[in-house]
Point group: C2
Chain length 256, copies 2
């Protein structure tokens, strides 16, 4: 039974896409089948895995708006156990189109029913907003993984995100849990990183992963080669950070 994890945070540039790609690929490296779904109109997860976002292939847009079977939108990636449902630029207009649909918060939830069984994990990369696309991801998800950049503005935005998760839990998706909180772009040389990390651990306690993703130039280089980090530079400290995270995520889910 596939576990659906939304990777969400309305603060921009905190490492949602980077975590989506590298967590999904690190789990797939353990030969566990993973589906990555890109619901950001920017389509960064799509291009970060080497796909062209304007391709003719059906995308998450056709799945959500035209009711296309999600299996038809699945792409096989360079990694055997990692599949992708890509995004396209058409998604920019999707939120306005979805508002008029029946149960417009549950469009993604319904779309995933036929595909959930095929994967052990389904990871959804969300855009930097709390609009209808992100709400659909939170409604379809079993849990949400929150990347938090170790900087001040990212810390500030957590209460807003927590409120939204609480609202979704009270209405649309009572089972929604916080999968975990991930510290990203941590720079051990700065007080700011350590202060933010301490605040986040105070606020979220055990939910914060022991695994921390350090700032690392190889991480930001890999998308320009269309490859997850594990394929771009298997020896990088960044690869190790994400493998450790994948192990921790899988460990937390081993009895479920």
């Amino acid at each position: 039974m596939g576990k659906v994890i939304a990777i969400a945070n309305q603060k921009g540039g905190v490492g949602k896409t980077t975590t989506s790609i590298n967590l999904a690929s690190s789990i797939a490296a353990a030969e566990i089948p993973v589906l990555l779904i890109d619901i950001d109109p920017q389509a960064n997860a799509t291009s970060g895995l080497g796909f062209d976002k304007s391709a003719d292939h059906p995308s998450i847009y056709e799945v959500l708006i035209d009711g296309v079977d999600p299996k038809k939108a699945v792409l096989n990636t360079q990694m055997p156990f990692l599949d992708l449902i890509p995004s396209t630029i058409n998604l920019v207009g999707a939120e306005v189109e979805m508002v008029g649909m029946e149960d417009h918060h549950k469009v993604m939830l319904k779309a995933l029913t036929s595909i959930r069984q095929k994967y052990s994990y389904i990871i959804i990369d969300a855009p930097p907003s709390l609009g209808l696309l992100t709400l659909n991801a939170l409604t379809a998800a079993d849990s949400v993984l929150i990347p938090v950049q170790c900087e001040y503005f990212a810390l500030e935005g957590l209460s807003m995100l927590n409120n939204t998760i609480e609202l979704v839990r009270q209405g649309l998706n009572p089972g929604l849990e916080i999968e975990g909180v991930l510290l990203t772009m941590f720079d051990g040389r700065t007080n700011l990183s350590r202060q933010v990390a301490a605040e986040v651990r105070k606020y979220f306690g055990e939910k914060v992963y022991d695994s921390v993703i350090f700032r690392n130039i190889r991480i930001s280089e890999s998308p320009s080669f269309g490859k997850p980090l594990i394929l771009y530079d298997a020896t990088s400290a960044g690869t190790e950070n994400y493998i450790t995270l994948a192990q921790e995520v899988m460990f937390r889910n081993k009895d479920k």
Copy 2:
């Protein structure tokens, strides 16, 4: 006659708020009156200048949705020539509320008419999306300043942003120009920064500022003290970067 400049880029975390705060404060330091308007529901520009985003004071939300006179929403900041119209969390719902309004793309344009004369520059900090709030900023603006983080995903998003600017120019705001393109978080030690900078200059040519904002920890520390960089650390290289930018922006506008 106040020049209205929108600071926009749908890519998250590229330095929109940091540029809004520090460009506005650098111009104000030259004793030129500047108004900063925060239209991001995250309200980072508001807290970055030391204001509480949940305060009882009228915000841009009341100006856009309730038609409150923008002069009533103006706050004086620690700098004599810098005023702020703050954001609040209520703005999260504003896009849905505005869709039903008449001329919903021109709400901001109409709201600014009574206040434009009071300032030499009006700077609008936009959220990381191309939704109705950003479209309102682009419709009300004379020009748009585009911060581009020197990383791959930020580079990728430029064509999408350029298309949107072109659409706004064809319909809602024929006079909209690109004020300039600013390279942010440049790290001279990495090839990636240099490659992205070269691509951006190829794509935008003269529009790219000579001034570059280097990655600098003091820049990311200053918002946690609620101060623009020029007040937090006047000797920082980051302060110098933004002063140089302010001079270049003012030089480009001296005959207008």
